[in-house]
Amino acid sequence: MKNFKGKALFLDRSDINTDEIIPAKYLTESSKAALKPYLLEDLEISGFNPRTDIGGKAVIVTRANFGCGSSREHAPWALEVNGINVVIAENFARIFRQNMYNCGMMAIEMAPDQIAYLFDQYADRDCEIEVDVDKGVVKIAAGDQKDCIPVKIADFDKCLVKAGGWVEYADRNY
């Protein structure tokens, strides 16, 4: 299983699309590692600088419809090679969400008021998030404040996360 614990990056916008996560001009790269410097390069949110704000982060917290747009699996890969294996959002575009689990990564859905709470309480602080896959909870901590929020992780998604992806599973079973 991949690492699902570390510092959080808060991206306060809905509808962050795959072109913003990794622009099309980098789709000619044939290794995942080559995508590393370009993650979120075209994302314009005031106060966010991809060059300084991504390093050391392991979890993204964002609003609704993250990963909309193209089918490019380069989007999860660009996250992965930057050490980010978890995105928490109100909801996700279908293809992006499936790509995350197919890569053994996690796209976790929370209710809008829970996401709002996270932004409210934690966005401006040095905060650490951990996903416990077996217990189905997300733990958040900053200073003395702690929260533990139960989340739904479907059996299929859990199986993919544990197996490290869909290819081996499918080749064995179909």
Binding site: S14, D15, N17, D19, E20, P23, A24, K25, L27, T28, E29, S30, D42, E44, A64, N65, C68, G69, S70, S71, R72, E73, P76, N91, F92, A93, R94, I95, F96, Q98, N99, N102, C103, A154, D155, F156, C159, G165, W166, V167, E168, A170, D171, N173, Y174
Partner: protein, 430 residues
């Protein structure tokens, strides 16, 4: 028992199993489409795992379309990877330069999509093929990889959303305007995990080309697939490919009508619109649901007009645009690019004199390719430039870093090219 929708019928017919309760359907695939941007990664991974196999070379169709001719060493390698793989596995339906076109235009044109089919491709606009009454969905490279290897894919039971489009479209208003209007209604997230079923008199009178334009942009509302019911228009389009299979067109129609949704089928949502007063639409901003009427955007200056792509690069689109441009020159203040979506469309446009009209007007006519649509080649925008485009995405930087894209119909794009700024086409009298 309750009736079923088109997509539910297709799911039932293709179900392999449900390995995780009712949650996930593993479906058998009738076709797996491939292009050179997302497939080489899947191929490399298969090779690395020692699983360099394909489930059925006759069901895999491949094309080099995104960057063609190759623009640099990296894109040349991507083309080579797909080409070598197609040869190695005896994939006969592989379309290389000279015979290649934009995937979602060339595959239907070759008769590769039929009513009732399941299709996947590593490309989000695979939803286009739902126009034939098929379930066609974009997937990532890992799902594509498993599709290539095993001919299966997983899907959640889709939620169904039905659109009943009534009335008649005014002159100068097209399926592109309809889908832009619907995306504005739904927002970019309004149809996530849904199959968008397009029905009603407006759809009944649409050509297959127009239906493909409509279904093409289902993904821009988050939809898994856009679908239209197969009818005589579908049969006529497919007839050259199916005439050996059926005694008559009526027989083909009878067979294909099995996929039409039952009248008592259940939907998550049904939306009815009378579109008799619809106006030509155009996007502003950088999300496809940011849509206004062309009237509201009139006068917006433009640096480039682009007519092409899997949305609006078909013969019908070129005919409409050329009809407006004929005998005129594009404005000195901008440049115009036309990319017919396939070689067959190109040849047809040549025969009909459309290419000459575009060239006389000052357009550059390129070979069939995705090219500028995704800002990789053949018309990339400079920082601060604005493009009036018949494509499907206006995301920040989509056609070039710092560029802005306004999505519109070919008619509006053609009129805009002549005026030098966004305007309604003379065909629209509203």
């Amino acid at each position: 028992m309750m009736g079923k929708t088109l997509a539910q019928k297709i799911f039932d017919r293709h179900l392999v199993n449900k390995p995780f309760g009712d949650e996930i359907n593993v479906l058998r695939l009738d076709a797996v489409f491939c292009h050179e941007i997302t497939t080489p990664i899947a191929i490399n991974d298969l090779v690395a795992r020692g699983k360099d196999r394909v489930f059925d070379p006759t069901k895999i169709k491949a094309v080099i379309d995104h960057v063609t001719p190759a623009k640099d060493s990296k894109t040349a390698e991507q083309g080579k990877s797909l080409r070598d793989w197609a040869r190695r596995h005896g994939i006969k339906d592989f379309f290389d330069i000279g015979r290649n076109g934009v995937c979602h235009a060339i595959f239907p044109e070759k008769g590769f999509v039929r009513p009732g089919y399941t299709v996947i491709m590593g490309d989000s606009h695979t939803c286009t093929h739902g126009a034939f009454g098929a379930f066609a969905a974009g997937v990532g490279s890992t799902d594509l990889e498993v599709g290539i290897l095993k001919g299966v894919c997983t899907f959640k039971e889709p939620k169904m959303m039905k659109f009943v489009l009534k009335g008649t479209l005014p002159a100068g208003v097209y399926s592109k305007d309809v889908i832009l209007f619907l995306i504005r209604e739904l927002t970019v997230n309004g149809a996530t995990n849904m199959v968008m079923e397009f029905t009603g008199p407006i759809i009944d009178t649409m050509s297959m080309e127009a239906r493909m334009t409509l279904c093409n942009m289902a993904i821009e509302a988050g939809g898994t697939c856009g679908v239209c019911y197969p009818d005589m228009t579908t049969v006529e389009y497919l007839w050259p490919f199916i005439k050996e299979e059926f005694a008559s067109k009526e027989a083909a129609l009878a067979e294909y009508r099995q996929w039409v949704s039952d009248p008592d089928a259940e939907y998550a949502a049904v939306r009815e619109y009378d579109l008799s007063d619809l106006e030509p639409m155009v996007t502003y901003g950088n999300k496809p649901d940011q849509v206004k009427t062309v009237r509201e955007m009139t006068g917006t200056p433009v640096d480039q007009v682009y007519i092409g792509s899997c949305t609006n690069g078909r013969i019908e689109d070129l005919r409409i645009a050329a009809g407006i441009i004929k005998g005129q020159k594009i404005s000195d203040s901008l440049r115009g690019i036309v990319s017919p979506a396939t070689p067959a469309i190109f040849s047809r446009a040549l025969e009909e004199g459309l290419i000459q009209i575009f060239q006389d007007a000052g357009f550059c006519v390129t070979n069939p390719t995705c090219g500028a649509c995704l800002g990789m080649s053949n018309g990339v925008l400079a920082n601060g430039e604005v493009c009036a485009s018949t494509t499907n995405r206006n995301f920040t930087g989509r056609m070039g870093k710092g560029g802005t894209v306004h999505l519109m119909s070919p008619a509006t794009a053609a009129a805009t090219a002549i005026a030098g700024k966004i305007v309604n086409s003379p065909l629209f009298k509203g």
